[in-house]
Symmetry: C3
Subunit: 266 residues, 3 copies
């Protein structure tokens, strides 16, 4: 692919410094805030129903992450999502652990029904369960999927009208027509908690500045993956990897995506 | 200024190891706990209404931070604040995002009305909005203020009887009469989430051991700013900056403030 | 002691990758997730009453930590604990701050009454208060205990049928009959927030793969203490200590416990 588009989107993120409103979990929330800053965005977290909608109205993108959800949080997500939908602010959904418990699966289905989601990003198990495939989730980790992941991703996207990202060693992105595969990343990203949540935040940053959801997602996955590659080279283990990941993300120049993004059409 | 007073206050913080009770947000709470330890204090976080007041009664200072507030949290803040007020335990308020949403602005006004706040610390937008100036807040960041920040800070302090800290490249501290300007710090502090919350925690540590609110706040801002300067020199980006910030804060000797604190009267 | 048993338990943890469900506080939750990964486990955090029990049913161990509790969280702990008890999944309790406030003390007593706890881990003040000894807790720190800690620990274990861990410079473990003392660790572990919570998570990982509670706890305390020793040697202060701690824990080979575990019978 011509990586120029990714470089341009990432440059725009750094220039426009978009506000990214998060309603997210309390496990990785600090990582989400910091990676948003490193990617060029301005993070804000506000989950009370009394302000979730108002805050969403000011944002360039709304990130919904169900990592530690409860019924009250879902209500706030609906309120914020409705405001975002009205104002054409893209809503990015990370269905953490969907498939592991009924609450997570059913809450995700409700969000998908009641809101217009721009991009959904999950692991193979999460996306597989939501797509109706034979898939399993153990805690917040994928425990396998039967069938061709690319087909499942594309079909789910086509049926829902949502841009779907199935993350993995190779990330799959589809809007039902186009399919992009992103090869960036490093196994050490799975050795720490939060990389899945963080890439969703970066996707929010990119979606705030680019209407083409597939290209926005690919930019985020490639950029974050490149940061992960650099951080792995600069670290000794998962502990030193995390500060190195933030350093690499913050230092990543848009032009670096020209040579570094490993994205191809399938 | 003669920096001896700052050095002495900071030495006392390290000697007395004051308990600093926090009712704070879940984004930066871990950073607040760690910086409190690094500054010599003992952090505790307890926000349930069933124990917030009881815990506050044991503390040397109470830090209230509305970064991820909801109505229940505000009730706990009132309960804890009332106990602190009765026992003359200083209450430090960080009105994160006041001005961005009605909930944040109105909750802050309620805390200011119902509690006797010793020190309030916010960015130019937050303090400006609360002071009735022409100011804006975007998410949790200042989006500008019209008018002279020093005058706004001093007037707000005079009218409320609260020691006001308007943080920025130059921090402004006033109790309505005195005005101190603190020049310590480094731009990289704005590249991570949580430095604003952390300096409020350090202010809690210092206020627990020094009755003069202006001097307590100046000590905290100078010490934390010095740690930021040292951490910036020792780091490559925002990721490595954060561990370096904790290292620098923990290693900061009270005597270092004699030469390092850059505080002047305005 | 023959350290082979600890090495074998730790090897099993890394092989089996047990799911460790946490209902824990929002201060140190990210550290708990990461140390669980570094120790070989798979962390999941789910505290809503709508899913806490269901998620617990899939886990190898359930960790309950009352660091920032409220009445709703206690209900979720009871629900999850009941499921764990039915399915013989070990429940590990960290009574953070028990003794500091009535809510914490009474909630801990309720958990001890209504659930079958496998292992309880607290500092001298927390365990002392719960054991009915003359002990004090200040915030979340031990403020001293009167009497012989070993006797208090053993007696409390004998009376409750719970394996008790009293953490400190020397950790004391007893099931009422056996007493093990673990000497691993480093003072710098007390300079950061979260090491107490983290070792409880590691205990969960080990208890998921070893039925002998005393041996599981000793393995966790020795392994985590060894990681702390190595991290202290590799760091300059509390900030750099934390990433080094995760690196050391992740790199710790089971065989390293053969020479490195400093565990003895009392």
């Amino acid at each position: 692919m011509d990586n120029k588009v990714f470089s341009e989107i990432f440059a725009r993120a750094r220039e426009q410094h978009p506000l990214v409103h998060h309603i997210t979990n309390y496990v990785t929330v600090n990582d989400c805030a910091n990676i948003t800053l490193c990617a060029g965005g301005a993070p804000v977290m506000a989950d009370a129903r009394e302000e979730a909608g108002e805050m969403a109205g000011f944002a360039g993108a709304l990130v919904l992450n169900i990592g530690t959800l409860n019924p009250g949080i879902i209500e706030s997500m609906i309120l914020a999502g409705n405001v975002a939908n009205e104002r054409r602010i893209p809503v990015i959904l990370d269905p953490v652990g969907a498939g592991a418990t009924r609450l997570r699966t059913e809450s995700t289905r409700r969000l998908l029904e009641e809101l217009k989601i721009a991009i959904i990003k999950g692991n193979a198990g999460e996306i597989g369960v939501l797509a109706g495939a034979d898939a399993k989730v153990r805690g917040v980790d994928s425990a396998g999927i039967t069938g061709d992941p690319v087909t499942i991703t594309r079909t789910f996207a086509r049926e829902t009208g949502i841009t779907v990202v199935m993350s993995g060693a190779t990330d799959i992105i589809s809007d039902g027509k186009r399919i992009l595969l992103v090869e960036n990343g490093h196994p050490r990203m799975g050795a720490i908690s939060g990389t899945g949540c963080m890439v969703t935040s970066v996707t929010g940053v990119c979606a705030a500045v680019e209407k083409d959801r597939v290209m926005a997602a690919a930019t985020a996955l490639a950029a974050f993956g490149m940061a992960g590659e650099q951080a792995a080279a600069a670290s000794k283990g998962p502990g030193s990897f995390k500060p190195a990941l933030f350093d690499a993300m913050a230092a990543l120049a848009p032009e670096a995506l020209l040579a570094g993004a490993r994205v191809r059409s399938a």
